[in-house]
């Protein structure tokens, strides 16, 4: 098992900072869903992690804790995530992206 970043939608959708998307060293790993917050009645969208691309470096955790000061990202064992996004289930929209979060099968 290994650690991947997990973004708390409730905290993330209350702000619009998007800093983690700019500081992740992996391309197309932290993506942004413009509608994630609206479904929960929150103001903004939320970032989420494509866990199949995450290498677990935790740079986003440092950025969220120390630069953005939102503390929305934690490192979690991949088999303990109830639901997660993977690249195959992500759709790019004209503005933002949309992922179908589902349980991840780990071999």
């Amino acid at each position: 098992m290994y650690l991947v970043a997990d973004i708390n939608v409730d905290i993330c959708a209350a702000t619009s900072c998007k800093l983690c998307t700019q500081y992740c060293p992996e391309a197309n790993t932290i993506l942004y869903d413009d509608n994630a917050g609206k479904e929960k009645g929150l103001k903004y969208g939320s970032a989420y992690v494509a866990v199949d691309r995450c290498k677990g470096c935790a740079q986003c955790v440092w950025v969220c804790d120390n630069m953005a000061k939102h503390h929305a990202i934690t490192m979690t064992m991949i088999d303990q995530l109830p639901k997660a996004a993977i690249t195959d289930r992500i759709t790019y929209l004209d503005k933002g992206t949309k992922a179908i979060a589902a349980p991840v099968e780990v071999a």
């Binding site: 998307t21 700019q22 500081y23 060293p25 391309a27 955790v61 440092w62």
Partner: protein
């Protein structure tokens, strides 16, 4: 080299991998993409085998997003960590033999000028400190002396990271590394000073802890290299393996190094300023209207 080079052959789109389909339909080609839109479009860079948390990867990712015309850009690199990621992108990558990346880029940019004339075709060299300051040093400097019009970006991790931690010309004096147990005996090379001396039209030092700054610096460098002259960017991209930086502290290290020896510095010639102001409408370089004379 046009928008046509990333598209489907008729009838084959549904057989292509998802990443390719996303690139065709939602990639940055032909659009203006910026750092603030990151996470909302398919990036040119794909999955790559570089270490987790590598600051060089982050810089390469930002650089790829910052290219003004990615569909008209060719990257040139050489042996080193950087090429592992630069080659995994949806734009052409030329792999020079160790050290000759600036010589290859010279020929390439001249050839593109002959073939395409005034149409902008950007050549961007991205190589490490070893490939540029040690092994390819003569070719790098000579390309600047010849005023070859392309952008040179040094990914300076201050060590030969790919081969186990030998000192390079860009390592700091006294630095102890795995393959330099007594510490380096000489000063870090002043490549920025040499670039100015050799006649680069634009020289900048950046640290990837400020994505917007990286974006603006790379945009300027690539645009100036189209017509004015050679441009040089030196980026601090720490090696978290050889320098034993915990991956989640990479940005903390970048901040402290920026405060220490990598302060943001920008050198731009008057020709380049005028070019940016007149051709691309850069307001900061436009001549300010003369202040109204005070009433007598």
């Amino acid at each position: 080299m046009s928008l046509d080079y990333v598209k489907f052959s008729p009838g084959f789109d549904r057989f292509m991998p998802k990443e390719y389909r996303d690139m065709v339909n939602h990639g940055p080609f032909g659009k203006k993409t910026t750092v603030s839109q990151m996470g909302s479009f398919k990036e040119i860079l794909e999955e790559h085998p570089m270490c987790a948390g590598c600051a060089m990867t982050l810089f390469i990712r930002l650089a790829m997003i910052s290219f003004p015309n990615p569909e008209d850009t060719i990257t040139v690199g050489t042996a080193g960590c950087g090429r592992l990621a630069i080659s995994q992108a949806a734009i052409p990558f030329v792999y020079g033999n160790y050290g000759d990346q600036n010589a290859v880029a010279s020929g390439l940019s001249r050839g593109l000028k002959l073939r395409f004339g005034d149409k902008p075709k950007d050549v961007v060299v991205m190589a490490g400190d070893g490939g540029m300051a040690d092994i390819g040093f003569s070719m790098t400097l000579h390309s600047w002396f010849r005023k070859e019009r392309f952008t040179t970006i040094m990914l300076d991790n201050e060590v030969y990271g790919n081969t186990g931690g030998q000192e390079s010309g860009m390592t700091n004096k006294g630095q102890v590394l795995k393959m330099a147990p007594l510490g380096k005996k000489f000063e870090k090379m002043d490549m920025v000073g040499m670039a100015k001396l050799a006649g680069c039209a634009y020289v900048a030092t950046v640290v990837p802890n400020n994505p917007r700054r990286v974006e603006s610096v790379i945009k300027k460098a690539v645009l100036i290299a189209r017509e004015v002259g050679p441009t040089y960017i030196q980026a601090y991209t720490s090696c978290n393996i050889e320098y034993s930086i915990p991956t989640d502290k990479v940005m903390e290290d970048a901040n402290s190094v920026e405060g220490d020896r990598y302060k943001f510095e920008e050198y731009i010639t008057d020709d380049a300023k005028n070019y940016l102001a007149n051709r691309y409408g850069y307001k900061i370089y436009q001549e300010k209207p003369a202040a109204a004379l005070p009433k007598a």
